[in-house]
């Protein structure tokens, strides 16, 4: 009974996320464009697709709250309080890596990127090569988020000031942009934005807040967040470097 109730509440939240998109696009279709849909687009397909999005997002978030979040948060707290430094760092990397691999927004953007790169003739235009590119891109981004979380944890332990590290990250991005192939720049910049999404943020924040509370003299709000800020700069650096080393 409880479960059904929270499922309905989750469904309402998903619908509320989708509503502005549907309203704005609907308004533009009916009032501004006023043309029939092109034959390539089937309205029934669109609507069933949107229903899938709502069902999918509802089940996904509900599932995260039942399974992954409580266990992940418990682990993050346990490692923050007790674990040896090396286990803590290994766990931080693994947590950042694993949660990014399952991030829906990244799956979406990597798929699009592989299509575009194949159509642009940068890789062979076959489904296998596309899948291969998308997979490698996601692994690179996941490794970068893992590294970012690990660095963020070291920062919390050492008490290094956050803004110097972020500015340092930006400077590296700047320098790499000058030398990286220009085809990868857009994909690299965008991959920084997609990692801070549904799964990664709650898990990584739990780790940061757990650490900050366990160490005396740390501010949970400041430190918990710092991990996320790193997680959105590091993918840019890694993907640029990946492009530089050859796709």
């Amino acid at each position: 009974m409880d479960f059904a109730f929270s499922l309905i509440r989750q469904m309402r939240d998903s619908l509320r996320d989708l509503a502005p998109v549907v309203l704005v696009i609907g308004f533009f279709q009916l009032v501004v464009i006023q043309q029939p849909l092109p034959t390539s687009v089937d309205l029934v397909d669109l609507i069933t697709g949107l229903v899938f999005v709502v069902i999918g997002l509802t089940l996904f978030i509900q599932g995260l709250q039942l399974g992954l979040f409580p266990v992940g948060e418990g682990l993050a707290e346990a490692f923050a309080r007790k674990g040896s430094i090396s286990w803590l760092l290994l766990f931080s990397f693994a947590l950042g890596f694993g949660s990014t691999v399952a991030e829906p927004a990244l799956i979406a953007v990597a798929a699009k990127a592989s299509e575009v790169v194949a159509e642009g003739g940068l890789i062979a235009n076959t489904p296998e090569m596309q899948d291969d590119f998308a997979f490698k891109l996601r692994m690179v981004v996941a490794a970068s988020v893992g590294t970012a979380v690990m660095l963020g944890v070291i920062r919390i332990l050492k008490g290094w000031p956050l803004h110097f590290m972020i500015i340092g990250g930006y400077v590296i991005v700047l320098l790499l942009t000058l030398v990286a192939p220009s085809e990868i720049v857009g994909i690299a910049y965008d991959s920084g934005g997609v990692t801070t999404s549904t799964i990664t943020v709650p898990l990584v924040t739990a780790l940061g807040v757990g650490l900050a509370t366990a160490i005396k003299g740390r501010n949970p709000m400041l430190d918990g967040f710092g991990l996320i800020a790193f997680a959105s700069v590091m993918p840019i650096i890694f993907v640029l470097a990946y492009g530089l080393l050859g796709i």
């Binding site: 502005p20 704005v24 899938f52 997002l57 801070t196 549904t198």
Partner: protein, 260 residues
């Protein structure tokens, strides 16, 4: 049949995080997982949910973003062109309005943003108004996406805009009130939800492939990056403005009081 393939691919996506969580739980921490059946049901729901979402993504979210880009930039929709005249960037004004509307509407009512801004208001002790903070994030997001579409129309290199924004962020970070900085950087992440990212990505790529002279690889990306950066700028800008107004208030009173 298609769903079975997606289900299998999704399973591979979830295995790493499941292996990490259970591996560390049983091998390193060596404690039993509390409420194991519930956790397993949770993972099953994640698997099903992610599969449904990815199905809907291909069937609805990508096509919708692409459709809007194609329709709003098609010759039959754009204003009439005089003979031999070149398209001016302002001809695409409906695209900018659409981008702004999508950016602002998806952000302003975002539940996590509402929660964060109320908290920020409490921490600041009244200098920061939660509603104004939400407006700044939404404006930043909307402006970022609009700038992204304008850049695609113009064919400007993404680097210039991003690096320009970085410099602004760095200067602002050094000068803003310390307590707002985490919040500002956080607000960049809040704006890119799982639903908006695919639509924005498809919009940018659709524009780059339908506007003459643009290529999707070179021009199509960057909308998400700009959508993440500009809320940081507007939130710190708002905090600086709020602080400046706050500082001005007591000064006025002290300069006025001797005259009285």
């Amino acid at each position: 049949m298609q769903f079975v393939t997606i289900l299998f691919d999704t399973l591979l996506d979830i295995i790493p995080i499941a292996a990490i969580i259970f591996g560390f739980q049983y091998l390193v921490i060596r404690k039993k997982v509390k409420r194991l059946p519930q956790v397993l049901v949770g993972f099953l729901l994640v698997l099903l949910g992610l599969s449904f979402f990815l199905l809907g993504l291909e069937q609805a979210l990508f096509p919708m973003g692409n459709l809007m880009a194609e329709q709003l930039s098609s010759e039959s929709f754009l204003p009439e062109l005089a003979e031999n005249a070149q398209r001016h960037w302002s001809d695409y004004y409906w695209i900018y309005i659409f981008a702004f509307a999508i950016g602002a509407s998806t952000t302003i009512a975002e539940p996590s943003l509402i929660a964060v801004s109320i908290k920020a208001g409490e921490i600041s002790g009244g200098t920061i108004n939660p509603f104004m903070l939400r407006i700044s994030v939404a404006l930043g997001m909307a402006f970022g996406i609009t700038l992204g579409t304008w850049r695609i129309v113009m064919g400007l290199p993404l680097q210039w805009l991003v690096l320009g924004a970085y410099i602004l962020v760095i200067i602002q970070t050094l000068r803003s009130p310390k307590s707002i900085i985490p919040l500002a950087f956080d607000s960049g992440g809040v704006t890119t939800s799982t639903i908006t990212v695919p639509i924005i990505a498809a919009l940018g790529l659709g524009l780059a492939s339908s506007i003459p002279g643009r290529s999707p690889v070179m021009d199509g990306f960057g909308m998400i990056a700009l959508a993440c950066l500009f809320p940081i700028i507007t939130v710190m800008g708002y905090a600086q403005l709020a602080e400046w107004l706050e500082k001005r208030k007591p000064k006025k009173e002290t300069t006025v009081s001797p005259d009285c």
